[in-house]
């Protein structure tokens, strides 16, 4: 499984080349628009990671035979990656905002909703550290992740569409069109695939580390 995701070693450098060398700059924004190839995929991958965390939590909680204990680790690891990606999204978004609107932070609905997501998931880490890593802690924090997953669509899809925003038209807009040149569109699609695979690759690595740690604990207890 992990070997398939190793393709990111080729895809990520290619994404960088396509973003900086092949794709043209946007008409008004110029070269600053190239940040879209990192900002949008990071945002997408962060939402994906939170959805995976929520789904894995459901699987863990409703597994009455307790055969899928590792799903708790999967959801926790996915959350960690999601947090890193959402911080990256915020940072790249801020840089883009400074270049386009003249200020790093504008309380735009999209900026604000991403910060709220950061708060939702940083609360998860507070809860997890308060509960500890025992079985009870995993159960309660998984229940929180399920609840948190249901707030994600509100922040990501509803708020930015209700309030007037300075943010460029999102990929899913009322006209259902992608306002990008063909080369830009291909580069963005390529980058989305690369970031998705990168997320799954890092997740699989972290899951392996968690499995090794769990095995070490069992071995230590057996001695």
């Amino acid at each position: 499984m992990i070997n398939i995701f190793r393709i990111v070693y080729i895809l990520m450098p290619l994404t960088v080349v396509l973003a900086f060398q092949w794709a043209p700059g946007a008409e008004i924004l110029g070269d600053t628009s190239r940040i879209i190839y990192f900002h949008v995929p990071a945002a997408w991958a962060s939402v994906l990671s939170f959805l995976v965390a929520g789904t894995a939590s459901i699987g863990y909680l409703f597994d009455d035979k307790k055969k899928r204990a590792r799903l708790a680790d999967v959801s926790h690891n996915s959350c960690i990656i999601g947090m890193v990606l959402i911080v990256l999204t915020t940072v790249t978004g801020s840089i883009w905002a400074k270049m386009s609107w003249g200020s790093f932070w504008n309380w735009d609905p999209r900026e604000t909703s991403i910060v709220f997501l950061l708060l939702v998931y940083s609360a998860y880490f507070s809860l997890r550290s308060a509960l500890g890593r025992k079985e009870r802690g995993s159960r309660i924090s998984s229940a929180y992740l399920v609840l948190a997953m249901f707030t994600v669509p509100f922040f990501v899809f509803m708020v930015p569409r209700i309030y007037p925003s300075l943010h460029p038209a999102p990929l899913i807009n009322p006209e259902k069109k992608l306002f990008l040149d063909d080369k830009m569109r291909i580069t963005l699609a390529f980058s989305l695939v690369s970031f998705t695979l990168l997320y799954f690759y890092i997740l699989s690595l972290m899951n392996r580390i968690s499995a090794i740690e769990a095995r070490m604990v069992i071995n230590r207890n057996e001695k």
């Binding site: 609360a123 507070s126 308060a130 509960l131 009870r136 609840l147 707030t151 922040f155």
Partner: protein, 220 residues
């Protein structure tokens, strides 16, 4: 199950009426906040946006003071094990949810007129204002009840409850503040969209919490 819910509700109300700790704390906090804001503004008229924001901040922090109490008390006093033996998990959740909803509605009934009086608020659309206040209160209670159960299992840390509740309650606060602004601003723009959203959100959270509650509450 109805009998179990009723018995547990009765017990919770009796315990609360005996000590009146949570209700006194929430009402005192809200009263202090309202009077402090009134003193600071000294009769200066505030915009509907500021008024709505202040009203819901007072509601939010009153909820943070009072709503976790129902579960934290059971864990602190060690009564939760007896309760789990006597009453089914679903009945525990539903009785606590009803208790918190009634408790918070009572708090709102006390706070709202005091707030309107001291800040000289002119409500243009009373029906929508009342609907927004109570549907928002229900949404806060529904969300806080489940989170309170989690926090009580984490040692009942007060600040943790606020840290966890605030981001999850943002959609509620957003709709409630919007609905309140509309009811204060303009009779023509009054609509029941925000109260309906709040009721739908309460229903969604209550249903989710009902499904997840046994994983949080039962000790395995």
């Amino acid at each position: 199950m109805a009998g179990e819910i009723f018995r547990n509700l009765l017990k919770d109300f009796r315990v609360e009426l005996r000590s009146r700790f949570a209700v006194n704390l929430s009402i005192s906090f809200a009263g202090t906040m309202t009077v402090s804001i009134g003193i600071v503004t000294s009769g200066v008229p505030l915009s509907p946006q500021i008024i709505s924001l202040l009203l819901w901040m007072i509601f939010f922090f009153s909820a943070m003071n009072g709503l976790s109490h129902i579960f934290v008390r059971e864990v602190d006093q060690g009564t939760f094990m007896f309760m789990n033996n006597k009453i089914g998990t679903d009945a525990v959740y539903l009785s606590k949810l009803i208790y918190n909803a009634v408790f918070f509605a009572v708090i709102q009934v006390f706070i709202t007129p005091v707030f309107i009086f001291f800040l000289q608020v002119e409500v243009k659309c009373a029906a929508v204002f009342i609907a927004t206040v109570f549907s928002g209160g229900l949404a806060i209670s529904a969300t806080s009840t489940f989170l309170a159960a989690m926090v009580s299992r984490a040692g009942g840390r007060g600040s943790l409850f606020t840290i966890m509740s605030f981001p999850i309650l943002i959609p509620v606060l957003w709709a409630a503040i919007n609905g309140t602004i509309r009811s204060l601003e303009n009779r023509a723009a009054c609509g029941l969209g925000n109260p309906f959203f709040l009721l739908a959100f309460s229903g969604m959270i209550a249903a989710l919490s009902f499904l997840l509650f046994r994983h949080v509450w039962i000790e395995e």
